[in-house]
């Protein structure tokens, strides 16, 4: 008995210890230090103008990057799975994976080379009075760039798994391609999409490197939440830094909770059916 249970408890201790040391403890520390001087400094930090500006900018970047990459991601996955090019699929796949492999700092620099004042489009942009680098568009572009792969990567395997039977069935029942996409394909792959969206959102909220390079770090103007944390910490405004960190964490948790709220009921019921003993199903 003892020898049978030992590995099980051993594994649990290792897993929980690992989570405690690396996740729970540091996160708990942030919560503790945020509120060490009471609630008032936290409220002050939350109402600070530069914090509100940073929150706004982060939300703008997320609200543009997430829909853009969701639409692009689903369309790209559909094209690659349903109408694969005869050759060069590996090249497209590598290109899509590039933002995952590339250091975000390099992404930021690359954007400056193209859209910066001395960049390829620089002259044209300046002449037309459009500011990209050191401004909101640059931050949005950087966020889109680094979060591009997530939806595509999540949706491709799901689309393969789902196959084309359901779509073809819908066509023979009279549904147009448009109707079929929105009523059949999209619901069938929604878990892949949802998971991709959550990953995109998390990365968009937390992106630091690429955004840091293109932002120019003007407090209250081109500072996102992550940059704001860094800024306040360097200025010894620790409570403000911790508070902003907590807000970022809360947004991340909210994302995960939202995903569970939208979880449709048939999935839970299917799980119950699967737990019935074998041979229990009628013809």
């Amino acid at each position: 008995m003892r020898s049978g249970n030992a590995p099980r408890y051993g594994l649990r201790v290792i897993a929980l210890g690992y989570l405690l040391l690396l996740l729970a403890l540091p996160f708990g520390a942030i919560v503790y230090y945020t509120f060490q001087d009471g609630v008032q400094p936290v409220l002050d930090a939350l109402t600070d103008e530069s914090f509100i500006a940073a929150l706004k900018l982060t939300l703008i970047a997320v609200l543009i990057a997430v829909p853009a990459n969701t639409i692009f991601g689903v369309a790209c996955a559909m094209a690659l799975v349903r109408h694969p090019p005869r050759r060069g699929t590996w090249f497209i796949n590598s290109l899509i994976g590039l933002p995952l492999a590339l250091s975000p700092v390099v992404v930021g620099l690359a954007l400056i080379l193209v859209y910066g004042q001395d960049g390829w489009f620089g002259t044209w942009l300046v002449e037309n009075g459009i500011e990209v680098i050191f401004s909101t568009p640059g931050i949005v572009l950087a966020t889109i760039f680094v979060t591009l792969p997530f939806v595509v990567r999540e949706v491709i395997p799901v689309l393969r798994e789902v196959g084309t039977d359901q779509d073809e069935a819908a066509w023979t029942l009279g549904a147009s391609r448009f109707q079929t996409f929105f009523r059949i394909t999209l619901p069938a792959i929604r878990w892949g999409v949802a998971y991709g969206v959550v990953l995109t959102m998390a990365r968009a909220l937390g992106e630091y490197g690429a955004v840091a390079v293109v932002s120019g770090r003007l407090a209250g103007k081109t500072e996102t939440l992550t940059l704001h944390v860094d800024e306040e910490y360097l200025r010894f405004n620790e409570v403000a830094a911790y508070t902003t960190s907590l807000v970022l964490a809360a947004l991340a948790v909210a994302t995960l909770v939202l995903m569970n709220v939208f979880k449709p009921k048939e999935y839970k019921e299917v799980a119950d059916v699967d737990r019935r003993p074998p041979g229990h199903q009628a013809v």
């Binding site: 039977d165 359901q166 073809e168 069935a169 819908a170 066509w171 023979t172 029942l173 009279g174 549904a175 147009s176 109707q179 009523r183 059949i184 619901p187 069938a188 929604r190 449709p264 048939e266 019921e269 299917v270 059916v273 199903q281 009628a282 013809v283």
Partner: protein, 327 residues
């Protein structure tokens, strides 16, 4: 003719010719089986009729209307897939009502029609379940109701029972036959199972290598096969030289009579009423005979015993070979 296929050819991107200059006519109200081994082109032909594949050459018409260039949405065919193609995120009711909803019928009408169909496929008590909560047989009946809901001109079934276990398959087969007698919609069923084809269909078309080998009533195919392929595909067969003999056309005797050959009983397999006797002829060739339990008891057959066999009926194809004995 309800469905007419004229000189249809389909070549896939990899160069494989799935359907090779096939012409086929399917009578209204019939239940026709497309029978053939995998890769014979039967499913591709069915998908071409439905508009899910585009032929490289040839024409397809349904109820006299040329539909060759018409999208599957406009062909008014019902299609049932081997793996059900259930809309997993919809209830059984919504699955069955999908085609009617797309056609923007009144809600009350849809409900009435769906109720009627669920009754027909015996799924009334499962209307609010999701496909994931149904067995394979139930899912396929739902798929059938879904296809019938839009009152299709023809019903196309692609290996509909292929993913089900043997017992359920037989039950559904009998049920489909009864359903067809009730609904009378022209039906084409693709299968690789000759027993299934012979059991449910009025007419069977045997396909091989993208071509039609023979079309006819199940009995005609069995009794008068056009060639070796059909002969061996629609039932078990022994081949001795140029002669093809059905196992039930082998006569077993205890004594030689001049026209018989000597054989050793290698194995006796009891299949209920029927018994399969596996024999080795004196020249080493293997044949099997199909006899009744009564005959085995009468002859007191034992494994290892020497007996004498004689074909009561043989088939020789292409007329090039001389009739010959078992030797």
């Amino acid at each position: 003719m309800s469905i007419a296929v004229r000189q249809v050819t389909k070549r896939f991107d990899n160069g494989f010719v799935a359907v090779d200059n096939v012409s086929l006519a399917i009578a209204g109200g019939s239940l026709t089986a497309l029978l053939g081994p995998s890769g014979s082109g039967k499913s591709t032909l069915l998908r071409i009729i439905a508009g899910l594949e585009t032929p490289d050459q040839g024409e397809v018409s349904i109820l006299g209307q040329d539909v060759t260039g018409i999208a599957p949405q406009k062909r008014e065919v019902g299609f049932v897939f081997q793996h059900y193609a259930a809309f997993k995120h919809m209830t059984v009711r919504d699955n069955v009502g999908f085609g009617l909803k797309i056609r923007k019928r009144e809600k009350a009408d849809i409900r009435a029609k769906v109720d009627e169909l669920l009754e027909l496929v015996q799924l009334s008590s499962f209307a609010d379940r999701y496909p994931g909560q149904l067995s394979g047989g139930q899912r396929q009946r739902m798929a059938l109701a879904r296809a019938l809901a839009v009152e299709p001109k023809v019903l196309l079934l692609d290996e509909p029972f292929g993913a089900l276990d043997a017992r359920v398959r037989k039950e559904l087969r009998a049920w489909l036959r009864r359903l067809h007698d009730e609904v009378h919609v022209t039906t084409v069923l693709v299968t690789h199972d000759q027993e299934e084809a012979m059991d449910v269909a009025d007419r069977v078309t045997v396909m091989n290598d993208g071509r039609v080998e023979q079309s006819g009533k199940p009995r005609d195919l069995y009794e008068h096969p056009a060639n070796e392929f059909v002969m061996s595909f629609v039932g078990p067969v022994n081949r001795l030289g140029e002669e093809w003999i059905r196992p039930h056309d082998l006569e077993l005797r205890l004594e030689p009579n001049g026209t018989t050959s000597e054989a050793m009983v290698q194995r006796i397999v009891h299949l209920g009423f029927e018994v399969r006797v596996e024999l080795v002829l004196d020249d080493g060739r293997h044949v099997s005979a199909q006899v009744t339990r009564g005959e085995v008891e009468e002859l007191e057959l034992l494994e290892g015993q020497i007996i004498y066999v004689r074909p009561s009926r043989t088939t020789v194809f292409s007329g090039t070979a001389m009739p010959q004995g078992l030797r």
